[in-house]
């Protein structure tokens, strides 16, 4: 589908009712973006997962107990992007051509202020030197640079794929990439197609239509940062939980 002439604003709609919590998106993301395998010393809190799947539970006993999985990556905040405004050396970039919030690891000096600023905890620091077992380094994606110890990184909607789509568009004589040229690894690999990716600025696109459905919601919407990652669920209790904020009484629902 060809996008309108307006600059695209890429976003995602994740159907949590479809998500089985298989973690395929996490693996696909790591492979696509050269995220190194976790070392033995790595903990849940020092690990590198651009996409993190959390579990939400309605807290009721069996048989009323229900749970859903919520894949959370960078929410690509569109307004007053919290991480971008705080970075002292412009290592976080908001691309007006795509709406993507990108990280420039070669410019980052690892102060981690952006991580403090991110309400979604979607930024990760390289606490260890990246290491790949012998032979595995040959599987690295040549379109994405590996990052070094001491810098911050995060989901950038598979920037390598965007570059490839732009190159293809240029080769075909088009000014902008088309939606069919570009999708993220997590969306492509989701076995239940729970993750949909596309141009939110195009009113005809699937993500744009899904994002406007009554069952769609965004995380921490009240903060006013206009995230471009939407979630969908037909289950009322999911909406109830995500609408409540952390300082309410809901931390027992967590298993993230």
């Amino acid at each position: 589908m060809e996008t309108t002439q307006k600059s695209p604003r890429y976003g995602m709609v994740i159907d949590v009712d479809r998500c089985t919590g298989c973690g395929n998106c996490m693996v696909a993301c790591a492979v696509e973006n050269n995220v190194p395998p976790a070392q033995a010393k790595v903990t849940e809190r020092t690990g590198m997962t651009w996409m993190r799947v959390s579990k939400l539970d309605n807290g009721l006993p069996f048989p009323e107990n229900r749970s859903v999985y919520l894949p959370v990556s960078c929410q690509q905040c569109d307004h007053h992007t919290p991480c971008q405004s705080v970075c002292p050396q412009n290592a976080v970039e908001y691309d007006i051509e795509s709406g993507i919030v990108a990280q420039i690891p070669v410019r980052c000096f690892g102060c981690r202020y952006c991580m403090t600023a991110c309400p979604y905890h979607a930024r990760y620091y390289n606490w260890f030197d990246p290491e790949w077992a012998d032979g595995i380094e040959r599987t690295l994606n040549p379109d994405v640079s590996a990052r070094m110890r001491g810098v911050v990184e995060k989901c950038n909607f598979c920037h390598g794929r965007l570059q490839a789509a732009r190159a293809k568009a240029a080769a075909d004589g088009r000014k902008t990439e088309s939606e069919s040229d570009y999708t993220t690894a997590c969306a492509e690999c989701c076995p239940t197609q729970a993750i949909r990716f596309g141009n939110l600025a195009d009113p005809k696109s699937e993500v744009s239509i899904l994002s406007k459905s009554p069952s769609a919601f965004r995380l921490l919407e009240d903060l006013g940062t206009e995230p471009k990652v939407y979630f969908r669920s037909e289950q009322e209790w999911v909406h109830t939980i995500v609408k409540k904020t952390s300082s309410s009484e809901l931390k027992e629902h967590s298993n993230g």
Binding site: K41, T43, R45, T46, S54, L56, L70, V72, H80, P82, S85, V86, C87, P88, Q89, N90, A91, R107, C108, F109, G110, C111, R112, Y113, M115, T116, A117, P119, Y120, H121, R123, Y124, Y125, N126, W127, F128, D129, R149, G150, V151, L219, L220, D222, L223, G224, T225, I241, V242, K243, K244, T245, S246, S247, S248, L250, K251, H253, S254, N255, G256
Partner: protein
């Protein structure tokens, strides 16, 4: 040689006693430097910080020592710009303490960042919207100003004074001191404020976020005021501690009282504004769908922490310091000064540690963090460095000009 370096008219402990005093600090510094080496060589995996607790003990330490070191800029401002001559008795000590606090903070920041060799990028690719850019520029400039302010104190050393060119340099530098004091005050105001702004701008952390007054969040102004308020108290405390450890009277009692009065006057003003700010925060955070009381229901961070900060370690010492009767009693005066400093130490703890511990997402959990030995050792290295610089300065430089006069009496 040692005796020739000590100022005329004052007595100092024997060289052996001095060595015994600095030995433990040297050992602590050595352990700390080893921890620093580990962090630089192996990376910040040597710390207990993580992706959730991305800031830890070191940032807390930086914010705290810089607030306490504010005595240097504020005393300089009062003495050189507002001509409050009473403060001449402590200005040299204040400059040394300021220099220690700021240089210590910058050194720790050098370890705290993942790629210290890229620190200059902030000057090359500055993001003018970032509070950290403002902090970096101001701290770098102000540390230079403090070093310049420290030079005349060093050049006044008995031995160095004998070199004519140094004496002339010191004299000329001293004439310019009003300029440096004014520049230092300007820079210090900004970076004390931007340290407050560092957390106040965090729209994603509703516990810390504050609305903007002009272009800065309210914490910007509260940090300036609180630092200016406790700076004199910290100068008072350090002078008192130096006096107790050296068993000498270093300044006249009215200097303590004057410092206490300045501290109290600013502290009461700060506490009123802090209380107003807290009430505004309760209202604004509610409109964003957060429950203000909810932030105080998690683990040990109850409302007691807010009460302790504003009333016990804020209002109470402010009232004490404003009371002439309390100021006349040195024990009470020092207690009040210590309480005021503790209040600001707690405030910086709340802003840095409590902010990060509190979850933001509805399915997040409260996180705790205990610093690793490497983090603690690095902190202790800064403390040891400070003790050593101050001890050497106290022994060989004239930190308290009134001392000779008091001793001759």
């Amino acid at each position: 040689m040692d005796k020739q370096l000590i100022a005329r008219g004052v007595t100092r402990t024997s060289l052996k006693n001095f060595y015994l005093w600095i030995l433990p600090w040297c050992l602590l510094l050595a352990v700390g430097l080893y921890a620093v080496f580990l962090c630089l060589a192996k990376g910040l995996n040597q710390t207990n910080m993580d992706n959730r607790f991305s800031f830890g003990l070191w940032i807390y330490l930086d914010l705290t020592v810089i607030a306490l070191g504010a005595g240097a800029f504020f005393t300089g401002f009062l003495l050189y710009v507002l001509k409050r001559k009473e403060l001449k008795a402590v200005i040299n000590s204040a400059v040394v303490i300021g220099f220690i606090c700021y240089s210590g903070a910058v050194a720790v920041l050098g370890v705290d960042v993942g790629q210290p060799l890229r620190s200059w990028f902030t000057f090359w690719h500055p993001n003018v919207h970032s509070m950290l850019t403002e902090v970096t520029f101001c701290i770098t400039c102000y540390l230079t100003v403090l070093a310049i302010e420290y030079i005349p104190v060093v050049l006044k050393n008995r031995k160095l004074k004998k070199v004519p060119s140094m004496l002339v340099f010191e004299f000329e530098l001293h004439k310019l001191m009003v300029v440096f004091a004014a520049v230092g005050t300007f820079l210090s105001f900004f970076h004390q404020g931007s340290l407050g702004g560092l957390y106040g701008v965090l729209v994603g952390r509703p516990f810390a976020f504050r609305p903007a007054l002009g272009i800065w969040p309210t914490t910007f102004f509260l940090f300036i005021l609180s630092a200016a308020a406790v700076g004199p108290s910290f100068i008072m405390l350090t002078t008192w501690a130096a006096s107790k450890i050296s068993r000498k009277s270093l300044v006249k009692p009215d200097v303590y009282r004057y410092l206490g009065k300045i501290s109290g006057s600013l502290l009461i003003f700060y506490i009123i504004l802090k209380a107003v700010d807290t009430m505004f925060w309760i209202n604004t955070v509610s409109t964003k769908g957060f429950s203000p009381a909810g932030f105080y229901r998690m683990q040990e961070f109850g409302t007691w922490i807010l009460f302790t900060e504003i009333v016990v370690l804020g209002l109470v010492p402010a009232i004490m310091l404003l009371s002439r009767r309390v100021r006349a009693n040195q024990k009470l005066l020092i207690t009040a000064g210590a309480m005021a400093c503790a209040g600001i130490v707690l405030n910086r703890y709340v802003m840095t540690i409590q902010t990060l511990a509190l979850p933001t997402l509805p399915f997040d959990v409260f996180m705790s963090y205990v610093p690793s030995w490497q983090e603690v050792a690095t902190f202790l290295a800064v403390l040891s460095y400070g003790m050593l610089v101050y001890s050497f300065s106290f022994r060989y430089l004239t930190l308290f000009p009134q001392e000779r006069e008091i001793q001759s009496v």
